[in-house]
């Protein structure tokens, strides 16, 4: 029998015992709804977490460090390749080389140093870090009190709120989050800070051979005679903004609380810890970086860029590495939610088997008639399959709608609660198109599997006996 005929006959048969088939279909709907509800919760939570990370600009960033950086010793991936002492130095030529890799938007040095900042004659120590102009779009600076740097060389500074609180003498109790940037901003914005720092100054008589192509840092010939002096300097900075969020959340213990424009920081030739380690190679104006942040055009290019940079002989780290375990967690969560959601569908599938077995008993004679007038085993089997499949698809469609509605309702309820707690509303719930298609397809599949036994049983019926049956 052709598929349109099968469908037509199946639907007419379903209409014949409307109540029973409707109840079975509702059973499937509830199963699908629970599956959709569970999975969309898992997906929604995962999307929420990823959205946060993407907004923070972390998914498209690769952090490059030299293998010489002993800080990373002991991590598995760095045991391959050259020994730390022989590997390349992260200097300006390397930075340019990385910047010219495909899909790299920018590669800027991480300038970070611990120094003293004076505010109203009180000294405060902090980790200071430089930000490229592109950081303006970072979530951390979006809508903060004050503004981003007016230019890349402006003598301005953005403070993280913890440091701002420190300047004002308000130390928040650990664990509480009652200090907001908005509250700290008014007394600080536009005020001056004095930063005291150590400037690295090339000794005038040192041989300045490292120009052009000769500047390959691995060259051993430049070791002798390298020398520079360290001079204490001061720089006055205007407080431009106070940030609530931490733009450097992936940095861990070395994160900074004070931010400078990148070009300004570079022009100051500030002495950094790496300078000491690389003293034999970098005693020139060519700076050596402890690390370089590489921004790639999209998160999917992170892995290839990481691989390319690793091939160049550097260590890399990206949030993708860090979120691998997070993604694993969500995969397990989705699996569990899916299993629980499927349980209801499994119960519903037993309903299908029951309904169809009942239908065989009821339609025994009808099956006999169909066989007597020429229906093959396959026709009878397919007819029962089609009935099971139709119930599956119908149940799937209704179930998806139901699951979506449940999701909406829960999302609404949660957001009302969040609002009462004066928290911004969030989307915990996501029903992507693939989930809709998957749920309906899955319901269809489960129904077909449920139809296997009844269909085979109907096909096996002996027509002579079936016709005798009244």
């Amino acid at each position: 029998m052709k598929i349109p005929d099968l469908t037509e006959l199946a639907l007419r048969n379903l209409r014949e015992s409307l109540l029973r088939n409707s109840l079975t279909t509702i059973g499937i709907s509830v199963g699908v709804a629970s599956l959709v509800a569970m999975l969309s919760l898992g997906i929604g939570l995962q999307q929420l977490a990823s959205r946060r990370l993407v907004k923070a600009g972390l998914f498209d960033t690769v952090l490059v460090t030299s293998r010489r950086d002993l800080r990373n010793m002991g991590r598995d991936e760095e045991r391959n390749g050259p020994a730390p002492g022989e590997s390349r130095i992260l200097d300006e030529p390397s930075r340019l080389e990385i910047e010219h890799l495909p899909n790299v938007v920018e590669a800027y040095p991480d300038i970070r140093f611990i120094t003293e900042l004076r505010y109203q004659d009180n000294p405060h120590m902090s980790m200071v870090s430089a930000l490229p102009p592109s950081a303006k779009s970072n979530d951390a600076f979006d809508g903060m009190p004050g503004r981003f740097f007016s230019s890349d060389t402006a003598p301005e500074v953005i403070l993280q709120k913890a440091f701002a609180a420190e300047l004002l003498g308000k130390t928040p109790k650990p664990g509480t989050d009652d200090v907001t940037a908005a509250g700290l901003a008014p007394p600080l914005l536009g005020k001056k800070l004095t930063m005291r720092y150590a400037q690295r100054e090339t000794t005038p008589d040192s041989p300045s051979k490292l120009n052009g192509s000769a500047s390959q840092a691995n060259s051993q010939s430049t070791v002798a005679g390298a020398a520079y002096s360290v001079v204490s300097r001061e720089q006055e900075l205007t407080i431009a903004g106070i940030s609530d969020l931490d733009p450097e959340s992936m940095r861990g213990p070395t994160r900074a609380k004070v931010f400078l424009p990148l070009k300004l920081a570079e022009s100051l030739h500030i002495m950094q810890p790496a300078d000491l380690r690389e003293i034999s190679h970098a005693a020139t104006d060519q700076p050596v970086y402890s690390s370089i942040s590489v921004r790639v055009s999209s998160p999917k290019h992170v892995q290839p860029v990481e691989d390319a940079v690793k091939k160049m002989g550097f260590n890399t780290f990206s949030i993708l590495d860090a979120t691998r375990s997070l993604r694993q967690f969500f995969e397990v969560l989705d699996l569990f939610l899916g299993i629980f959601g499927s349980l209801a569908l499994a119960v519903a599938s037993i309903g299908i088997v029951n309904t169809l077995v009942m239908a065989i008993l009821e339609r025994r004679r009808e099956i006999g008639i169909m066989k007597a007038i020429g229906a093959s085993d396959g026709d009878v089997k397919n007819l029962f399959f089609a009935e099971a499949g139709a119930m599956g698809i119908l149940g799937g469609i209704v179930g998806v709608a139901l699951g979506w509605a449940i999701g909406k309702a829960i999302n609404l309820g949660t957001n009302v609660y969040l609002k009462r707690q004066s928290l911004p509303p969030e989307h915990f719930w996501a029903v992507p198109w693939w989930l809709v298609a998957f749920a309906i397809g899955f319901a269809f599949l489960v129904s077909l599997v449920s139809g296997l036994y009844p269909a085979a049983r109907a096909a096996r019926l002996d027509p002579v006996q079936a016709l005798r049956y009244e």
């Binding site: 029998m1 007038i373 093959s376 396959g378």
Partner: protein
């Protein structure tokens, strides 16, 4: 396809050889069909007569390909049904055989038109052709006006006519009728039998009809085959009947009802 080519003697014939159908009911072995050999020519109208339990319906089911013989052969149009697969048997039932039953066996949830259309669906006939064929078949049995009614809304005679239209729809060469008038009054029964005769004479269909009404068989069939206890006990042609004298007829009419069910009669006694 024309009637003439379809029903040439070679391919229209039914031949059974030592046909047996035994089955078990608990401890007892029932010999429903016990060694029947017969031949039916293409275009012939044959009545299978016998009491209930004589095996006439079993023989019909074997010829219809609804059942398989325990041993022996049924050959229809050079097909040995015993050797066909389930799939091939279904195709045979669909294209070669049209069946009507005592209880009409229409599907109650379908209209007459849908019932008649059903074999066309199984035969995968195109949708646009089907409507015309259904109309034509219902026209032939005089039910065109009632095609959208459900079987329950019709009289027994009308239902049986619809069943005949359904049996006709795939233009089979063989019409197998199992007590087609058994549930009808004599007047309606005659109407149905006239239709069956029409199919036989105008369409050239070979007809095998199971009945226990001898009068009906005498009136319509060219040949009567008597069964008792699964065995063939007599095979009479209508011209024999017509040429027979009165006493012969009496003898025939006498012996049939006198055979008690379940007791086999030695063939020599007939």
């Amino acid at each position: 396809m024309t009637v003439a080519t379809r029903n040439s003697p070679q391919n229209g014939a039914i031949r059974t050889q030592d046909l047996r159908r035994h089955y078990r009911m608990g401890e007892t072995l029932i010999r429903a069909v016990d060694g029947i050999s017969l031949e039916v020519r293409a275009g012939e109208f044959v009545a299978l007569l016998g009491t209930s339990g004589s095996g006439k319906s079993s023989v019909l089911n074997l010829i219809a390909g609804l059942d398989r013989p325990t041993s022996g052969n049924v050959v229809v149009q050079d097909r040995n049904l015993a050797l066909l697969s389930r799939e091939e048997l279904a195709k045979y039932r669909l294209h070669v055989v049209g069946m009507v039953f005592q209880s009409f066996n229409l599907i109650a949830s379908m209209s007459l038109a849908e019932n008649v259309e059903l074999p066309l669906r199984f035969a995968e006939v195109n949708r646009d052709k089907r409507e015309g064929l259904v109309r034509e078949a219902l026209e032939r049995v005089g039910l065109r006006a009632r095609m959208n009614h459900r079987p329950s809304e019709l009289s027994g005679g009308e239902q049986q006519r619809a069943a005949l239209a359904r049996a006709l729809i795939n233009r089979p060469q063989l019409l197998l009728a199992d007590e087609p008038t058994g549930n009808l009054d004599s007047h309606t029964g005659t109407e149905i039998m006239e239709l069956v005769r029409e199919f036989n004479q105008q369409l050239g269909m070979t007809v095998v009809m199971v009945t226990h009404e001898r009068a009906l068989a005498e009136r319509y069939a060219e040949r009567m085959i008597f069964l008792a206890d699964g065995r063939l006990v007599d095979d009479l042609h209508n011209n024999d009947l017509q040429n027979n004298d009165r006493s012969d007829n009496d003898r025939l009419s006498d012996h049939r009802p006198n055979v008690p069910a379940g007791i086999s009669m030695p063939e020599g006694q007939i």
